[in-house]
Structures are given as C-alpha cells and as structure tokens.
Amino acid sequence: MSTILQTENLQYLYPAVEEGEQATVALRGVDLKIEKGSFVVILGHNGSGKSTLSKTFNAILLPSTGSVCVEGMNTADESCLLDIRRRVGMVFQNPDNQIVSNVVEEDVAFAPENLGVPTAEIRQRVDLALGAVGMAEFAQHAPHLLSGGQKQRIAIAGVIAMEPDCIVLDEATAMLDPTGRREVLSTAHRLNREKGITVILITHHMNEAEDADRVVVMDDGKIAMDGAPREIFAQVEELRSLGLTVPDTVDLLDRLRRDGLDLPLDALTVDECADAVAAALR
C-alpha cells in the first residue's frame, strides 16, 4: 500500500503571546504515515495537538522542525502548494468560516471554478456533491438562512466538489445533530469505499471511530496510542487517563467484567455488545 501523507519528527511551536512568555509546544515530534485509501480517526482531548496536527496536512501550518509530505511533495515547498491543497481538502468545525457565496450551489462550485474545471463538469460535480450531503433541494438557497448543520453539509460538499485524494475533517461534525453526524460519516465512508478517497477524521466522539481502519490517539503533542479501533477501545483505563471516554457499550462491558462476567472488551457496536451480554447471561 502506498503512503499518501507522511510526517517526520514533526514539531510545532505556537509563538509566545506576550514578552517573556514561553512558546507553546503543540507537537513534540510526530511520526505518522497515512496509507492511501485508509480511514483514520485521530482522537485526543483539547490541547493534545490533534487540530494543530491536522492543519499541517495541507500547509495551513508549516512545521517548526521536521517535515510533512503529501504524495512525495513537501508542504514547505511553495511551488507545490496549490497541488497539495487540491489533493488534501479540509473541512473545519465552524461552517460560517468556510462559506463565501450567496447561493449554495455557487459556494460548492467555488473550488472547482478556481481549479479551472470545465463548466459542464462543474455542474455535475456540484450536483453530485450536494446529493452526497443530502442538500440537493437547497441548491438555490441562501447559505446564511440555513441552520448550522445544513451549512456544515454545504461546506463539506464544497470540498467533495474538488474530488480530492484526501479529505481531512477537523471536528466537522461537532455542530451537527445525530442524523447530520450520521449522514456526514456515511458520506465520508462511502467516498472512502467507492472512490478510494483517504479520510482523516479528527473528533472527540468515540463512536465515530467504530468503523475506522485505524485510530490514532494524541496526548501532549505526541502519539500516545495507534491501532485498530477494537484494540484501542479495549484499553479503557489508558483512554480515561488520556482524558477521553470509551463508548457506552465498552463502559457497560467493563463494568460487567468487574462484576465477574466473562465478557470481551472489544464488542464495540450495539449489536455486538448485546450479543456478548446475552450469551454471558444464558
């Protein structure tokens, strides 16, 4: 499998705000390799460095030391910037910071227009992108009249319209309701499965990591845990010490194990958990 994104001993310092104060070290030497076509979730408490890390993926932030390479291109190389940003699209938490147009479909067309995509193709991409996020009926609507969650889906459509190789979702579901969150996630998974688009999802919501290929847990500017979701979530105490929680299914299994029941800790989903508990009680 080939690598789409690689960081080497990545360090990032936020400069001191006031005289005499220390710079804030946000990333302390991160070595991360993302495989093309994978679905990776990055978890971590606020302040762990996960958002800083995600911003280095398409050169919003440049490393203080170390390097970040996207398909072989170093993000510090200015001549590669446009190409890198076309390949790695980002969606942020607050849609108001990402919407620029007065009409939904024009906003979604913004990126492909700027990339010089032929007009007929733009139309296709916009329609597909809006369909993918369930906002097709709002194509002619004014973005500022939409609810928060609807705006966020437009922002995501705007990225999808670029047909990037990799989409980074930086807590992009934080402002969405459960349905909206599910829609965004299923869209992300579908794009990953059907188009081979690499997805990197930065989140607090443990259950969003259930279907990921890989979970990376950040703490204090470094990678603290890295593995398949089931391996990671089974380490209940470790996760709690890193300021995170486990899905309620795992919490229940953990409690019942302490009560003496013989149960696995990696039955993540509702059905797996119910199967395991039902079997143990028969």
Partner: protein, 288 residues
C-alpha cells in the same frame, strides 16, 4: 404552582412574503415549571434556536404569546430589554461574543447594563466567576489569552452575573472534549441545585440531556413532538428514531437485549442502571 414560563400557540415565520418564507416554529405550546431543569432536543432545523430566542424576547412571535411569571413579555414592547435580564440566554459557541479588555470587565458588562455599580457589581462578577471556576488571578487577564474552554466559561459567567431567573443554554458543551464537557455540565448542575434557578438546556446529545434534566421537550419539524421525564421520552425510542433523533447508546443496547429475549426495561439510559438490571437478572437465574 404557576409555571415560570408559558409558551402559548407560538408560531414564527421567517421571510414572510419572500420566496424563502418558512415557519420555523408552528403552534408550539408548553410550560416550564419554576426551578426545573428542562432539556430541549430536536434535529437541526426543528426550530430549537428560533424557539429559545423567543423566550428572552430576541425574536417576536408571528402569532402566539410568551408569558414570563404570568405576564406577556410583549405587553410593553419598550421594556423588552428587562426580560433579557431575567431570562439569560447563552448562545452556542459563546466565546465568540467576548470583547472586553479583561475577563472582569467582560463579565461585568451585563450587570453594569442593569444599573449595578460599586460593591454590588463586584459581588455579581466575582460570584459568577466562582460559579464557573474562573480563578481570581484570571479576572485581570485578557479574555483572548484564555483557552477555548476557559473563554466559554467567561461567556457563561457574563450571563450568570445578571442573576437571571431563567438560564437558557444553547448546546453549552458543543466543541468541548469529554473532560471539558463533564466539567461544564457539573458546573451547570451545581448552579441549578444551589440557586434553585430554572435551567433550559438545548442539546443534541441524548446522553447529556438524559443524565442531567428533570424533563425533556422533543421538537420535530417546527412542532412539539413529545414531552416528559427522560424515562418517559426514551421509552418511545421508535418515535425518536423516526424523528431524526437518536436514543442513548445504552438504551439501544437495552432494546437489543430485549430483542434477544432478555427481560430488560428498555427505558434505561445509563450504563450504571443497565448494569444493575443485568446483575439482578443474573442473580435471579442463579437463584433458581
């Protein structure tokens, strides 16, 4: 007892006469009891934000009434400002509303506008800061030097400092990590307990709402779908799911266990409660 807030056949239509005409709230009626902790849940676009902006007079009803302590808040439109001192609304991502030079001054803005001065103003500011866990040494800092979570607390303190009778919080934990969420919710719970104030919390998170409130109001597509205690509401899981909402993961596990033939009360919504039920089942089986 008289409900502290009464929403009577409230309708709000945006963009009347334009192509964008839409009723975000349609014929909603419900009461809020004095001192209760009410949770409001609903899918995006269900009317939550529109509804709560009526409760402190930021939006005017297209039709219907809002009664605060029995009186129509729009009876004297020129005095609507006073309603906002008694019904405090904390918006989503309130840290965006911070603007003053110091944390102290930002928190003082509200009460100062109410006419408070001197020692009384100082008391309000310090008390509010204490309620949200802002330390004395942080009061003289610029709000912009603080972390996101701390800024949020300052914004919340700015509303608490007005000592409102009703506190409304629109998704107070949005964007916070699990530790931050739990901390803030604990602050809100303490506030509710110690001040006996009425608290209304809008949330998407079923777990969050279930674990903290006395009653839940469920909105769907501009209407009230149902209201009741967490147990009552989560026992109607099917309706919630088809209304674009979720039920707590534990509730779904309980329903799944029931489907597998276990005698479980599926209106349960905390891991602790389900654990207790399952242990009772195990004892029961062993005791045969």
């Amino acid at each position: 007892m008289e409900p502290i807030l009464k929403v009577v056949h409230l309708t709000h239509t945006y963009g009347i006469g334009t192509p964008f005409e839409r009723s975000a709230v349609e014929d909603m009626s419900f009461d809020v009891a004095d001192g209760e902790f009410l949770g409001i849940i609903g899918h995006t676009g269900s009317g939550k934000s529109t509804l709560i902006q009526h409760l402190n007079g930021l939006l005017k009803p297209t039709s219907g009434k809002i009664l605060l302590e029995g009186k129509d808040i729009w009876a004297e439109p020129k005095k609507i400002r006073n309603v906002r001192f008694r019904v405090g609304l904390v918006f989503q991502y309130p840290e965006y509303q911070l603007f003053e030079e110091t944390v102290y001054k930002d928190i003082a803005f509200g009460p100062a506008n109410m006419g408070k001065t001197g020692d009384e103003l100082d008391r309000c500011v310090r008390e509010a800061a204490r309620l949200v866990g802002i330390r004395d040494d942080q009061l003289e800092k610029s709000p912009f030097e603080l972390s996101g979570g701390q800024k949020r607390r300052v914004a919340l303190a700015g509303v608490l400092a007005m000592e409102p009778r009703v506190l409304i919080l629109d998704e107070p934990t949005a964007g916070l990590d699990p530790a931050g969420r739990e901390n803030l919710l604990a602050n809100i719970r303490d506030y509710h307990r110690n001040k006996n104030g009425t608290v209304i919390m809008v949330s998407h998170s079923m777990e969050e709402v279930a674990g903290n409130v006395d009653r839940i109001l469920v909105l769907k597509s501009a209407h009230v779908l149902m209201q009741g205690t967490p147990r009552e509401v989560f026992s109607r899981a099917d309706e919630l799911l088809s209304a674009g909402l979720d039920v707590p993961q534990i509730t779904r596990v309980a329903i799944a266990l029931k489907e597998r033939g276990l005698d479980v009360d599926s209106a349960v919504y905390t891991a602790e409660d389900l654990e207790r039920q399952l242990l009772t089942l195990r004892k029961g089986a062993a005791g045969c």
